[in-house]
Symmetry: C2
């Protein structure tokens, strides 16, 4: 399995405080050491950094830390390989262009069967179930909508496409086109939104502390989505199995409630178990 980190905001925000805790799970506080990737939207463009080394010690991750890139939408992933070799083409997040926008996707889970993509509009470059699932999602969307649809139409279609993929395994994912961020949970995914009044937070993975009052302005809104909570003293919402959340400008604007993940919380079961 792997771990996911996403950030969706209404003002360009530096993810380094969260990323520095998250990357410790790639070799220090957990064992997701089979490469990492992080993609920062900047306008319609993206900066992406990836490495097949463990994030905790990767010089590419050090570069991310040093540069303090500010972004409205960021997706990061630390990998513990289940399918596909440990190499660059199999590192998340995966990226494709759809309707003239970058779409960025990262997955935690394991799918045992997925559609034949030989003649698909989008084809996987590597050998992971994750990239195949992403290519299937992109191909389905482009086939259903020649032009970019409304967000309501898109969110409805995404649920439908995701449901079919979930039939064969665990499918926690975060997806963004730079305008919004969608999170889907089958086993483990948590989120919180930071907004005024801001407080302090202490990281779980190394006790690093931040006072958001030193950085945030009144009106700032920052949502963090992650596999397991990154801080001790904030209230994280645990998503439920089959749950979908649609975030925009740091705010939850739509949600599909699943069933409590405690019922299936052995870390191996997928969406099909809670249908």
């Amino acid at each position: 399995m792997c771990q996911l980190l996403g950030m969706n905001c209404n003002t360009p925000t530096d993810i380094v405080f969260s990323f520095e805790g998250f990357r410790r799970r790639a070799g220090l506080t957990d064992c997701h050491c089979d490469g990492f990737g992080i993609a920062f939207f900047e306008g319609k463009g993206i900066r992406v950094f990836r490495d097949n080394q463990a994030a905790h010690s990767s010089p590419i991750a050090d570069c991310v830390k040093q540069y303090h890139i500010k972004s409205l939408n960021v997706i990061a992933h630390i990998r513990k390989a289940t399918q596909g070799e440990v190499n660059i083409e199999n590192t998340h997040p995966f990226i494709r262009e759809l309707w003239g926008q970058n779409w960025v996707f990262a997955h935690n889970g394991n799918l045992t069967v997925y559609p034949d993509l030989t003649h698909s509009l989008y084809q996987p470059i590597g050998s992971t179930d994750s990239e195949a699932a992403f290519c299937y999602m992109m191909s389905e969307l482009k086939t259903r909508f020649a032009q970019k649809p409304s967000e309501d139409e898109l969110f409805t279609s995404m649920q439908d496409i995701t449901h079919s993929l979930c039939q064969t395994g665990t499918f926690n994912f975060i997806l963004s086109n730079g305008e919004w961020m969608i999170a889907h949970c089958t086993t483990h995914l948590h989120y919180l939104t930071r907004k005024a009044p801001f407080g302090k937070a202490q990281r779980i993975d190394d006790d690093g502390v931040i006072d958001f009052n030193d950085y945030a302005k009144e009106g700032d809104r920052v949502t963090i989505i992650t596999t397991f909570p990154l801080t001790k003293d904030e209230i994280w919402t645990k998503m439920e199995c089959g749950g979908f959340v649609f975030f925009k400008e740091g705010e939850k604007i739509a949600e599909i409630i699943g069933v409590p993940t405690q019922a299936i919380d052995d870390g191996t079961l997928g969406y099909q178990k809670c249908a």
Copy 2:
């Protein structure tokens, strides 16, 4: 205009010696300061670094220098904007997936008219003529060949598609799918191949010196393609207008000879002038 740098080899090679001269042209020895990008193939995957700051002073370019990534195919670009704002989505190289491979493209020149891409399979994310031309090339190839064709078929099609794009301006480019590298010239593009017996080279832009005997093995073959020569004491081949060269494993395996660029060498004329 901009400047291009490509490397195609038969053994994973570090491009830092060339890149360190090249990046000085982004603010020190020349004025291509409107962002830069560099993409390294690693297997079928790519690592890509881009910034909207000038390459000579960009901390992202410093990260590239420090990491000494070895690759069989690398494409880099320093930008002097002619069309499109200075931002991340308009930095080269541009990347798309075609037939399950990453295709990487960088352009130097200016195209005044290009096809309507509203209903195209590939659509531009930014606002440059370069990305539009690349999307047109990708869409044409995918429409002509449902599956990946032979290299001969591909090279023939590329000439045809390029010829139609060249009708409206200057179109020097480098393109790679990680297996080969194609270079096309309308005004300025040079290349050389380093192989045994290896010697020394001195950079033009800062007098940096290297002895390739300290790094290369017998049998290594490294081709460097660039807008203007990077070293003083090596023999660079100047490509001609309309010239196409197809490199694989560091070797020139096919070539279309154009007409001498001296005939049109005012830096503004395009392919249509030498047909």
